[in-house]
């Protein structure tokens, strides 16, 4: 059961992450009223954040450390991820990527 303290902490978390996120969203929109350009190095560093984060969330879910160390990857997840990556590469369509990945996972699990 979630305690009252935890309950308050979750709200604090929502407030902190929400405020910070709004600050990021507004950051350069407001700064650009004064400034003309972003330092290219800063922009370049920021541009690496999405790929690094997306891969850091996706890859351990497909190939967890335990599976890697025991050389026993889950074939369903692996095949589903590969099929999804292929569809994403070919179509760039998020819905098709998810649909194909889930279909492959369900089929491999059923076999």
């Amino acid at each position: 059961m979630v305690s009252a303290t935890q309950d308050a902490l979750v709200w604090l978390l929502v407030a902190v992450v929400g405020a910070g996120t709004l600050a990021f969203r507004l950051s350069f929109l407001l700064l650009f009223q004064r400034l003309d350009t972003v330092p290219p190095r800063v922009e370049r560093a920021l541009s690496f954040v999405p790929p690094a984060v997306f891969a850091a969330i996706a890859i351990p879910a497909v190939l967890p450390l335990e599976a890697l160390l025991s050389l026993a990857p889950d074939p369903g997840r692996l095949l589903a991820a590969l099929a999804a990556a292929l569809v994403a590469r070919r179509t760039g369509n998020l819905v098709a990527t998810i649909a194909v990945g889930m279909t492959v996972l369900v089929i491999v699990r059923a076999v």
């Binding site: 309950d7 979750v10 929400g18 405020a19 922009e43 370049r44 690496f48 790929p51």
Partner: protein
Amino acid sequence: MRTPSPDLRAGATDMAPLLVGIAPFGLVVGAAMVSSGLSVPQALGMSVLVYGGAAQLAVVDLLASDAPFLVVAVTGLVVNLRFAMLSASIAAYFRRLPTAWRWVVGSLLVDVLYARSVTTFDRDREVDRRWYYLGAGVVTWVGWQAGTVVGIVLGTGLPGSVPFGFVVPLIFIGLLVPALDDDSTVVAAAVGGAAAVLGANLPLNAGLLVATGCGVAAGLIADRRVD
């Protein structure tokens, strides 16, 4: 000077088909939030105030594994740091914009809206960017929140035989792969992913943060090699 309504409507109708991707993502995030112990008001509050699926998933995932407050907060913020980059990019399309409009544009800013809007702005010089963006942005917001509410209501009631949890990594694969458009970006993703696998057991659940830092650093180093 055109009246705002045609461009407002154009933005809305251009965004509508993308709801097929946005609403189910919201549904998954809504279900994930209540499944990991958030109350319904907390889940709704997070959906409105944070309004970023990836960060919401990362936060509830860490909450469910009892990570310390600071780690959860910083992780959520790091995942959303990309909005600063989108903010910089979209700002270039809104050169002479009143402050009130800048708040509107920033508040609605999410990846799919950014991608849809700049594609149109690059193609159609005549469009009133403000109204187009607003139309597209409101559709995105409503579609996302509607999907989230359905997910919150269904919660753990989603059919157990379907491994819905795997939708999450698939979404990130779907966002990541089409964005791998140069060598340095591929390096950033590969290093970030590998570091996350190796760092899964780091104390304080700091794996995602450390992995992101490694990925960004690797991308910058790869840039230098190219130069």
